[in-house]
């Protein structure tokens, strides 16, 4: 290529990491998956006035009847408290997290869509980077929140822009009156891994406070095999060290019997070298990512029938990239507010009306100027349970984005428990939804961006069966099977124009369809407790039609979408012992749009064994040995990015309560 073109591509690719159009290159990724829904996802649990639980927040699933939810609760997350969401989701679900190496850029893909098609919400606010329109899951420490809900499938009405393939909800539900708990953990592992975390919680009936801090560093100088002229040469990974910390602080104060004031802070900071590809030169790329998120909210229950909530938030996201040849800095500040009012007409019906406003102020090198944008949306969410065994929702959202109006996004869903015996229940779930993705700031304001890009829009359907087997015996089994189909239109791709500049265009229609199956078993016998989950995803995602200028062929599986993915995890505990195993299988993935080259499938096995010792009446010490990639598999998640061989870490955890 010519010098000019070379540098232009250099800039674009390097900045692509920040620029979000990595998809212009070999990206796109996917997956899909799952684990059983929690039993309460469809229960009308919202606004209740109970003596103890005076103002109870609604679960995310309340207006998401008929769709599939995977929940990772604090128990599941506690094993990863010094890790990141990438580690948790990759180990415990069949979701495909496209990962450029340990601790490196990690983008999620649900149901055959790209990372930009997954909305990530923290306490109700979208935390996808406004410039990129996606989140890097390696920047989100697992211990910062205590609950992760992954809602599969489109839900534009409920969660707004980007909820096309799915939505990841991060929250830390409060347990009132649970006193004080403190835990501290230190980890040491191979390849320079050192990590620590500290969590303290206090709650009585009036105040709930939680502080969580974590630190993690790794040299990641693991050995890998490099094919060279003399054969396979073992080399040590270079330029892949990471160092990151996170601090989150939540506080909720009850004001009287009917109101509640919440404040939350979440700071994350990561300093990473960017791991080069095997066989590529090391251009000493590094990136500093910092996010500061502040949130305040007030909820008030006027009577048994009315509840109002107002929330405001301010985020600042900084991405500073540099390599041997260039630097690129980006800072986006988002100021936003949400207000909603919920009418509970009777125990069977409730309606939530609300609106949201966002103001983005961006200073991104690639825009060449300071840019600001306002977005608004209004929504109505209706939940109606005509009979106890039938739940219905109908939701609607309309967004407005600086001169552009994304499509009206309605969702309807139903869940019907049509068969029941004392031990078993069988439910049918269906939902249909229109989703949308507003253009990212990069897509609109990048020097070669297009301010007039249309929002992408998706139309999806799903149907599923859920079976629950609960006996008086100390065990239960939940199984869920879902089939889905979604068409995403005006799918944006960055392509070179006649001048050779990469520019985003609404190019194609993509069809994603597949099947998700999951089963979860829990049981205990005396001191032995077992939870086992198996989840499988079949995902077929391909371009079905495109405009003439779109060079990618139709009818081929999109790059980085495994057709098959599977996860099987077990958690055992017996007296003071605990054992966890995680087995994941990821099918082959094509690495380019022509579906020629592919990465082979791989199976990974992780396990951890721990023992807890009481060292004082209120103090306990847990020693945990963790093993990763136990079968020593040589694999790649993203093409040519080396992954660590078998490795181990040791954790010490001290808890007080």
């Amino acid at each position: 290529m010519s010098t000019q073109r070379f540098w232009r591509r250099w800039l674009l690719t390097a900045v692509g990491l920040l620029g979000g159009f990595l998809s212009a290159f070999p990206c796109q990724a996917q997956s899909n998956a799952n684990v059983a829904s929690p039993p309460d996802s469809s229960q009308l649990s919202a606004v209740q006035l109970l003596p103890d639980v005076r103002v109870q927040a609604a679960r995310p699933g309340r207006f998401a009847v008929g769709s599939r939810l995977t929940t990772l609760d604090s128990l599941a997350l506690s094993q990863y408290r010094t890790g990141t969401l990438t580690d948790v989701l990759a180990a415990r679900t069949p979701l495909y997290i496209k990962n450029y190496g340990p601790g490196q850029l990690s983008s999620i893909t649900i149901r055959g869509t790209s990372a930009r098609h997954t909305a990530v919400l923290w306490n109700g606010f979208n935390i996808n980077l406004p410039s990129l329109g996606e989140a890097d899951f390696a920047l989100l420490p697992a211990g910062a929140n205590t609950r992760i809900d992954v809602q599969h499938g489109p839900a534009g009405a409920t969660y707004g822009t980007g909820a096309v393939g799915g939505t990841v909800l991060l929250s830390s539900p409060i347990r009132w009156g649970s006193g004080t708990q403190i835990s501290a953990q230190l980890d040491a592992g191979q390849y320079g891994l050192g990590a620590g975390s500290l969590e303290g919680r206090f709650s009585n009936q009036k105040v709930a406070v939680r502080t969580a801090a974590s630190y993690r560093e790794a040299r990641n100088d693991f050995p890998y095999n490099s094919p060279e002229i003399t054969g396979l040469v073992q080399r040590r990974q270079q330029n892949a060290a990471v160092r990151q910390w996170s601090l989150s602080q939540d506080a909720t104060l009850r004001i009287g019997e009917r109101a509640e004031l919440t404040a939350a802070i979440w700071l994350t900071d990561a300093d990473r070298q960017l791991q080069p590809a095997i066989g590529s030169g090391n251009n000493h790329a590094q990136e500093r990512d910092q996010s500061r998120r502040l949130l305040a909210g007030y909820r008030h229950v006027a009577s048994g029938h009315h509840e109002s909530a107002v929330r405001v938030a301010w985020f600042e996201d900084v991405i500073d990239y540099q390599n041997d040849d260039l630097t690129s800095n980006s800072r986006v500040r988002t100021t936003q507010a949400q207000a909603e009012h919920t009418f509970t007409f009777n125990p069977k019906a409730s309606l939530r009306l609300g609106g949201e406003a966002q103001h983005f102020a961006a200073e991104v090198d690639g825009y060449g100027r300071a840019v600001s944008e306002n977005r608004f949306s209004g929504f109505g969410l209706l939940r109606f349970d005509p009979v106890p065994r039938l739940q219905l929702t109908a939701n609607l959202r309309q967004a407005f984005i600086s001169g552009r109006r994304p499509p009206l996004a309605p969702t309807v869903g139903a869940e019907w428990q049509f068969w029941q015996t004392p031990a078993q229940q069988l439910s049918l779930k269906v939902s249909a939804s229109r989703s949308y993705r507003a253009p990212t700031l990069n897509e609109r304001f990048w020097r070669t961006g297009d301010p007039n890009l249309r929002p992408e829009n998706g139309l999806g359907y799903e149907a599923g069966l859920r079976h629950q087997f609960t006996k008086n015996a100390p065990w239960n089994l939940q199984t869920e099977l879902t089939a889905y189909h979604q068409l995403v239109d005006d799918w944006v791709q960055w392509l070179p124009n006649t001048q050779g500049d990469y520019t985003p265009r609404n190019l194609r229609q993509v069809r994603a369809r597949g099947v998700e199956a999951s089963s979860q078993f829990t049981g205990h016998w005396g001191a032995y407790l077992l939870t086992a989950r198996a989840a499988y995803g079949f995902t077929q995602s391909e371009k079905v039609q495109g405009r003439a200028e779109d060079p990618d062929p139709a009818g081929r599986q999109l790059p980085y979408v495994p057709l098959h993915s599977f996860a099987f995890t077990t958690d055992h505990s017996w007296h003071k012992w605990q054992l966890t195993t995680g087995l994941t299988f990821t099918g082959y993935r094509y690495t380019d749009a022509s579906a020629v080259d592919f990465l082979p499938s791989y199976t990974l096995l992780n396990a951890s064994l721990g023992r807890t010792v009481a060292i004082a009446p209120t103090w306990a010490l847990t020693v945990l040995a963790q093993g990763f990639n136990l079968t020593n598999r040589d694999y790649q998640v993203y093409a040519y990015r080396a992954m660590p061989p078998r490795n181990a870490a040791l954790s010490l955890r001290l808890t007080w309560r």
């Binding site: 010519s2 690639g366 089994l477 070179p496 089963s519 198996a534 499988y536 057709l563």
Partner: protein, 362 residues
């Protein structure tokens, strides 16, 4: 009762698991390594297409097209023959004697292969952004290296017998193509408006001659004149990527004996590229504004009408019959090559690998 259910659950899970691992373990079949010579080489009937691959991804490749069978023999020849990846941004390929020198820019190496069977012979590594190679004899070659943006580049002197770098010669910024003509090596310094002239006997820069902005390609015509394709230079703000300045392109012609006595054929904007010459050395071809133009070596002005109205990433002229090869390189997916008669009439097309940028006829 419980035992029954529990074991059935376990069995089911296990079956699902094993089923998944065996059934889905079926990855698409990869072709095995090529055995034997890929195609008769050295008669001029083979076309080697240089595919850059995706940037920051070592999936560059060489495609082999047989003119005889009018078919692609293989789209990843080096990997197929040698069982390993070629590298990141395959920039160019030059044949010296019966060996091919494949310059891999972002990996910083040259892979040396035997043209008869494309088997690996050597790797010349630890290079910094290498671009193009030109041999002055069967034992000595020169290789341009960018080194680093904004800083002077260099020309490495390579001993072809040992495939090692013996010395380096400092030249201008972003040196691109090299041309050996009348006992001198010409180096196009593409981030400047100069060419460096090196004496291959002393390996010293004898002169640095000013041409026009952005010289990148070089050719010598049948009259002995040297042509320099200058693309113009567009400068971007390193922080905002805003266009700071932009100059027009031009073709420059001079006789080797009097390099400062130049004929300049100016373009109305920047961006002419891919200057190549035919086998008879009397016709030049280049890309400009989404079209290919043909120019006689004796021309005094640029042609107004294009030969082919199509935007090509790479351009090649078959020295045997003047067939025009143009490549389309989308980079998100594999590219293709379209062949044209010397008159500009399309002949056929064939699919290659990702980012085809140039052609070697051998």
């Amino acid at each position: 009762m419980f035992q029954l259910h529990f074991s059935s659950f376990l069995t089911r899970t296990l079956l699902t698991g094993i089923g998944a691992l065996t059934l889905f373990g079926c990855d698409p079949e990869s072709d095995g390594p090529l055995t034997g010579p890929p195609a008769p080489a050295g008669t001029g009937s083979n076309v080697y297409v240089v595919n850059e691959g995706q940037f920051n991804t070592p999936n560059g490749a060489i495609s082999l097209f047989s003119k005889t069978s009018r078919a692609v023999v293989d789209n990843n020849l080096f990997t197929k023959v040698n069982g390993r990846i070629l590298g990141d941004v395959v920039q160019s390929m030059t044949v010296v004697g019966d060996q091919g020198y494949i310059v891999v820019n972002a990996t910083g190496k040259v892979e040396v292969v035997s043209m008869a069977d494309f088997k690996q012979v050597a790797t010349i590594d630890r290079l910094q952004q290498p671009r193009y190679l030109a041999a002055v004899s069967s034992s000595k070659a020169y290789l341009s290296e960018w080194i680093e943006r904004g800083k002077p580049g260099r020309v490495a002197v390579i001993d072809l017998r040992t495939n090692t770098v013996t010395k380096s010669i400092a030249v201008g910024r972003q040196p691109e193509q090299l041309l050996l003509a009348n006992g001198r090596l010409y180096v196009a310094n593409s981030d400047e408006n100069t060419i460096s002239i090196i004496n291959p006997t002393s390996d010293a820069v004898e002169a640095t001659v000013q041409v026009q902005d952005g010289p990148s390609s070089l050719a010598q015509d049948k009259n002995g004149n040297i042509w320099v394709g200058c693309g113009g230079i567009t400068r971007y703000d390193p922080v905002t990527f805003a266009v700071l300045s932009s100059t027009n392109g031009s073709l420059v012609r001079f006789a080797p004996g009097s390099p400062t006595n130049q004929t300049v054929l100016p373009f109305a904007s920047g961006g002419p590229s891919n200057l190549v010459i035919n086998g008879a050395k009397d016709q030049l071809y280049y890309s400009y504004k989404s079209a290919v133009y043909q120019l006689s070596a004796s021309a005094t002005m640029l042609p107004a009408t294009p030969l082919v109205r199509r935007n090509f990433y790479g351009l090649g002229i078959d020295p045997q019959d003047n067939t025009i090869y143009g490549s389309i390189a989308p980079f998100t997916t594999t590219g293709k090559v379209i062949r044209y008669q010397p008159t500009g009439a399309a002949i056929d097309s064939f699919g290659v690998n990702i980012g085809p940028n140039s052609f070697v006829f051998y």
